[in-house]
C-alpha cells in the first residue's frame, strides 16, 4: 500500500477524532454559565453584591449588613 492512501486515511481518522471530541466535550461552546442566575432579591440590610468566581463560575450573593 502506498504512502498517500495511508496519509489520507490518517488525516480522515484525525478529523473524525477531533469532531467527536468537540461534540462530546463542548470544546467549541461559549463561556461557562454561572452556577446560579438571580431572578429576584430583597434584603433589609444596607446592600447586596452578586458576583461569580473566576475558576468555577460559582455565584456568590454577599449581604452587607451596615
Amino acid at each position: 500500500m502506498g504512502r498517500r492512501p495511508i496519509l489520507k486515511l490518517a488525516s480522515l481518522a484525525l478529523l473524525v477524532l477531533i469532531t467527536t471530541l468537540a461534540l462530546t466535550m463542548d470544546i467549541f461552546q461559549g463561556p461557562a454559565a454561572p452556577s446560579a442566575i438571580v431572578k429576584s432579591i430583597d434584603y433589609t440590610g444596607a446592600s447586596v453584591m452578586i458576583m461569580e468566581t473566576e475558576n468555577q463560575h460559582q455565584t456568590i450573593i454577599w449581604l452587607f449588613e451596615t
Binding site: A36, K39, Q58, I60
Partner: protein, 127 residues
C-alpha cells in the same frame, strides 16, 4: 412517572482571617472562595442534607436566632428554581429566587459571626 425530588444540601460555614485552615468537607469550596475573599480559615458549622419535593420547604437553623428556608419550585431546562429566605427572630430579612444549575451550588454570605462571617453554601440535584 414519579414526582421530581430535589436533593438539597446546605453547608453553613464560618469564614475568618487567621491561620490557614479548611475543615474536611470544604475542600471543594475553599480554593474558589479564597480567590475572591480575604478569608483564610473555613470551618463547617453545620451540614444538612434534605430531599425536598417541589413546593416543600426545608429549614436550617442558623446562629444568632436565624433560620434559612429553601423551597424548590420546579425546573427551568437544566436549572432548579429555588426560593431562599432568611428569617431573624421570625422576621424576614432576606429573600431571593434563583435558577440553580442542576448539580450546582450558590454561596450566600456576609452576616457577621464570631470575628468572621457566615457563609451558606446551597447545592441542589434534581432526581
Amino acid at each position: 412517572m414519579g414526582q421530581t425530588r430535589f436533593e438539597t444540601r446546605v453547608r453553613v460555614i464560618h469564614a475568618a482571617v487567621g491561620p490557614a485552615h479548611v475543615d474536611p468537607g470544604l475542600g471543594d469550596l475553599a480554593p474558589d472562595l479564597s480567590s475572591v475573599f480575604k478569608y483564610t480559615a473555613y470551618r463547617l458549622v453545620e451540614s444538612r442534607q434534605m430531599t425536598l419535593e417541589q413546593g416543600q420547604t426545608g429549614r436550617v437553623a442558623l446562629p444568632d436566632n436565624q433560620v434559612l428556608m429553601l423551597q424548590p419550585q420546579g425546573m427551568d431546562k437544566d436549572r432548579i428554581t429555588y426560593q431562599i429566605v432568611i428569617e431573624k427572630q421570625q422576621a424576614q430579612v432576606f429573600e431571593t429566587r434563583i435558577l440553580l444549575k442542576n448539580r450546582g451550588s450558590i454561596t450566600i454570605g456576609g452576616p457577621k459571626f464570631e470575628r468572621g462571617v457566615l457563609l451558606m453554601n446551597i447545592s441542589g440535584t434534581a432526581r
